[in-house]
């Protein structure tokens, strides 16, 4: 199979995006675009799985190692499940046609980011992944805050990506070439090298909404429709995590200060994320800060600087993505305020107990995958001597139980409206798949982590 064939999943996504745009002109029914998109995305996921690990292609610009393959498969599956949900519920009140296209394009960008081994390709794929995200965040017309949120997201992330690009330019300057391999071998350029590395990671940290570059997230999430937040807060973040790990592997040897930067960012994110999440009454804003907190845990693994740490970081982000997306999809169905969850147990017991599984996974209570993610992450961090940070992480995960349980308290112990949202099969199946993943993934931790560690 020639190198071109290795990237069939990407072609499928591209084709899917175009097809989604024109599908509804041919078939009059609403949601066909999203359904088609879901089909294409799942095909992409299967083909990515089939293709598996490949050596570098196109002159070393793209490479499919263990991490890239895993993340590609997960990205495609997540977007397939998301599109399945979108097919069911749609992006009320607008049509979901363009949304499906944006989702597919963003996933395509994410897949390329993960496989990139060259600064140029990386920069272009990062922009390809984030631009549809701007549009998704601004997708809803009826809420006057949506556009403001989207603008904030756009301005702040453009600023940081320019800073990142500036860092790329210096890296290119030092190494004389844009390929990661060359940069890795380049002799450490002292202060300039450090500055450029820091600039690069500022951009990525902002993408991952890590403190102190997270400011856009709460406002953008609060403005956007919960459905789009479900996608934007998980898929691009997972891709971003993979890229950070890749860049960390090549830049850390040259810049010894980087792990400390990660540690500081991790501490700030954990503290700020968990504390600010407490008084929130809007689920989107709560999940925004929760995202910041979980990025903090991921950075803790990264700051360990070991192969196990890097694997743990990626595994943890996967373990975070599934439940977080599912919670936001539930919020899209039930209403974005925490009080909208009131009486959920009476209305929709299945949905209520699903939210228990999802929220407990985010807290890190076994047997859900969140706990195994934290177990692997703490092991790596402790091994690298990050005891203080682990203790903070441990304390903060207890605090996180506080605000996650406010949702549960509303769902179970507070009376709410009786009439239930009409049951839509695809949406229910999508949420069920995500919940099953949250429950079952824990059992397969072993093989997955070993597979990821092999990449470093």
């Amino acid at each position: 199979m020639s190198a071109l064939a290795w990237f069939i999943p990407e072609y499928l996504l591209l084709a899917g995006a175009f097809f989604a745009l024109f599908a509804e002109l041919i078939v009059r029914r609403e949601g066909v675009a999203a359904a088609a998109g879901a089909l294409f995305a799942s095909l992409a996921a299967l083909s990515a799985l089939a293709i598996g690990v490949r050596p570098a292609a196109f002159g070393g610009v793209l490479e499919l190692d263990q991490v890239s393959v895993t993340v590609r498969v997960v990205l495609a599956t997540l977007s397939a499940v998301y599109l399945l949900w979108l097919a069911g519920r749609g992006m009320a009140p607008e049509r979901s046609r363009e949304a499906a296209a944006f989702v597919l394009l963003a996933t395509l960008g994410g897949m390329l980011m993960v496989a990139a081994r060259d600064l140029m390709v990386l920069f272009v794929s990062i922009e390809l992944a984030t631009m549809p995200a701007y549009l998704l965040m601004g997708y809803r017309r009826d809420d006057e805050h949506t556009l403001e949120g989207a603008l904030k997201y756009f301005l702040l992330s453009m600023t940081t990506s320019l800073v990142m690009l500036y860092g790329f330019s210096f890296l290119f300057g030092i190494a004389g070439s844009t390929s990661f391999a060359a940069i890795a071998e380049a002799p450490g350029a002292g202060l300039l090298g450090a500055f450029s590395a820091v600039f690069v990671f500022v951009g990525l940290l902002a993408k991952m909404s890590a403190a102190p570059f997270h400011y856009w997230a709460p406002d953008a999430y609060a403005g956007a429709s919960p459905a789009s937040v479900a996608f934007v807060s998980t898929v691009p973040k997972l891709a971003g995590a993979a890229v950070m790990v890749r860049l960390a592997v090549i830049l850390v040897p040259g810049v010894p200060a980087l792990p400390t930067v990660f540690a500081v960012a991790s501490l700030a994110s954990m503290l700020l994320g968990n504390l600010a999440a407490f008084p929130q009454s809007d689920v989107r804003r709560l999940m925004a800060y929760s995202g910041v907190a979980h990025t903090g845990y991921m950075l803790l693994a990264l700051s360990a600087g070991s192969a196990a740490g890097n694997a743990a970081a990626i595994y943890y982000t996967i373990a975070y993505a599934a439940p977080s997306m599912a919670i936001m999809l539930l919020a899209a169905e039930e209403g974005t305020a925490v009080d909208d969850f009131a009486g959920l147990a009476a209305r929709r017991p299945a949905a209520a107990w699903t939210s228990v599984v999802l929220l407990l996974s985010l807290v890190g209570v076994p047997p859900m995958v969140g706990m195994f993610g934290k177990l692997v992450l703490f092991t790596a961090a402790l091994d690298a001597g990050r005891l203080a940070l682990v203790l903070v992480a441990v304390a903060m995960s207890v605090v996180s139980a506080g605000y996650y349980f406010r949702v549960l308290r509303a769902a179970f112990f507070v009376g709410g409206r009786a009439e239930r949202v009409p049951r839509v099969l695809p949406a229910a199946v999508a949420v069920a798949l995500l919940t099953a993943a949250t429950l079952a993934l824990g059992v397969f931790t072993g093989p997955l982590v070993r597979w990821l560690t092999a990449a470093f």
């Binding site: 209570v365 076994p366 706990m371 092991t379 402790l382 139980a401 506080g402 179970f412 931790t445 070993r450």
Partner: protein, 484 residues
């Protein structure tokens, strides 16, 4: 295969009852009763085939996460079989005791069965991660049991219970990981007596102490217990006091002592001090309570103080006494909570001044409550005395400062004070107007209490019925402690 069946049978039951349609409460009841009865039968079958001489038996080991050395490893020895039996028995009793549960019965029985899964699992797990999974699993059903079917301040009590225990257990996780990094495996039985460096042991013991002490509970980490007990429904209280408190002390005996022997010796004086304070503090507070359930809750703090005293002594008598108190407290406090629950169902009040003169109005209830109270204050011939006396013997024999042992002995006197002052006002005397209209216990309610009465008498009169199981294990642990 037997142990896996014992653990996951209730899980199947829980799923089945959870999926039952809401109105089929009665069917859910029978399923729950059937499942718990079958589980108890399996445990008894296991106990009969259990050979006291050998150590760990019925072991099952399947690799789960090989590169981290995590395995699905189960096994049973003398102490865990005792607690497993207690857990299975009290679960069955809890189901039968809540026969007339109307509000959302299917979810209620599902939660009880899920609770049993966690409890059985903790006593049988021999792998740290598995132990931690079951340890945390117990929190979720209990949170919902207290939160949904509890009393007026149930939400506050349930979240407080959840946060306290989660706080402790999360630091335990750090301890577990530290041990893994030091030894390369998560297998508890393999880690026994490895002679780890002393300072490392000290810190890991601190992490474990925090995790277990919250659960025991030891003074000053006990404030969640009274709230949780007062607000929990009867069956949940029985299981909370009967089994879940023992998970903390079982953790000490199964994990802290064998794996970190000289840390245990270093910590012994501190733990004895806390234990003695818990005993006297719990007793004094029980004396001052006006709510029956809170009184029994604080008495649990006092009794568990004896268990900690026994554990800290590190002598054969002390440890045997600790397990004896664990077992007898489970049985006796279970009985107390059941009877208080039954009285509450009839009089709808738990205030001591409103309830008096039970023995005249409802002689069977009064008699059984008196029996349970005397067992609780440690009357010889009943199981309460066995543990308390042995812990005092063990504590005096050990190198622990004598002053604390004297304070603990005074605790026995204070136990008599609060129990009898409760007996005076609630059982004796002329029936109060709340009591004067109530009917006596039904056959079902008495049937629930009879096995507990029989157990209290058998262990009380023939101590070896319990010590036969625990003594071999204890002698091994004491040897390890002496070695360190």
């Amino acid at each position: 295969m037997l142990l896996t069946a014992i653990i996951f049978l209730p899980l199947v039951g829980a799923i089945v009852t959870a999926l039952m349609p809401k109105d089929r409460g009665s069917v859910a009841r029978w399923i729950a009763a059937g499942v718990t009865a079958a589980d108890l039968a399996l445990v008894v079958f296991l106990a009969l085939r259990f050979d006291v001489a050998q150590g760990m038996q019925f072991a099952e080991k399947i690799a789960w996460v090989p590169q981290f050395g995590i395995s699905y490893h189960l096994g049973v020895d003398g102490i865990s079989i005792t607690m497993l039996f207690l857990s299975a028995l009290l679960s069955l009793i809890a189901v039968v005791a809540s026969w007339k549960m109307e509000t959302k019965p299917t979810a209620y029985f599902a939660m009880l069965l899920l609770l049993e899964v966690g409890m059985n699992g903790v006593f049988v797990a021999l792998d740290f991660v598995l132990f931690y999974v079951f340890w945390e699993l117990v929190l979720v059903p209990m949170y919902f049991l207290i939160g949904t079917w509890g009393g007026p301040r149930r939400e506050y009590a349930s979240i407080k219970f959840f946060l306290y225990t989660l706080f402790g257990s999360v630091f335990m996780l750090v301890g577990i990981i530290a041990l893994y990094l030091q030894t390369g495996t998560f297998d508890i039985s393999a880690m026994a007596d490895l002679g780890l460096p002393a300072t490392f042991q000290w810190w890991v013991f601190a992490a474990f102490f925090l995790g277990f002490a919250v659960k025991v509970p030891v003074f000053p980490l006990h404030t969640w217990l009274p709230d949780a007990h007062v607000e929990a429904p009867t069956a949940a209280s029985v299981l909370l006091a009967g089994i879940m408190l023992k998970m903390g002390t079982y953790g000490f005996i199964r994990i802290a002592l064998p794996i970190l022997p000289n840390a245990a010796n270093q910590w012994a004086p501190f733990i004895t001090a806390l234990a003695a304070i818990s005993i006297v503090y719990g007793a004094a507070l029980a004396f001052a309570q006006t709510d029956l359930k809170k009184l029994v809750a604080y008495s649990s703090v006092s009794h568990m103080g004896f268990v900690m005293l026994g554990i800290a002594s590190g002598t054969a008598e002390g440890l045997n006494g600790a397990v004896a108190v664990m077992f007898s407290h489970g049985v006796v406090t279970g009985m107390l909570f059941l009877i208080v629950g039954m009285v509450y169902e009839r009089t709808h009040t738990r205030m001591i001044q409103d309830v008096s003169g039970l023995s005249n109005q409802v002689p069977v209830a009064g008699g059984l409550l008196a029996f349970a109270s005397f067992a609780s204050l440690g009357l010889p011939g009943l199981s309460g005395f066995v543990g308390e006396f042995l812990t005092l013997l063990g504590a005096w024999k050990s190198s622990v400062p004598a002053a604390w042992v004297v304070i603990a002995a005074i605790g026995v006197l204070l136990a008599a004070a609060y129990t009898l002052s409760m007996v005076q006002r609630v059982i004796l005397g002329a029936p109060s107007e709340a009591v004067s209209k109530i009917s006596d216990l039904t056959v079902r309610e008495v049937a629930v209490l009879v096995p507990l009465v029989v157990l209290t008498l058998t262990v009380g009169l023939y101590w070896n019925s319990l010590l036969r199981f625990t003594d071999p294990v204890v002698t091994r642990i004491v040897a390890m402690l002496a070695g360190a």
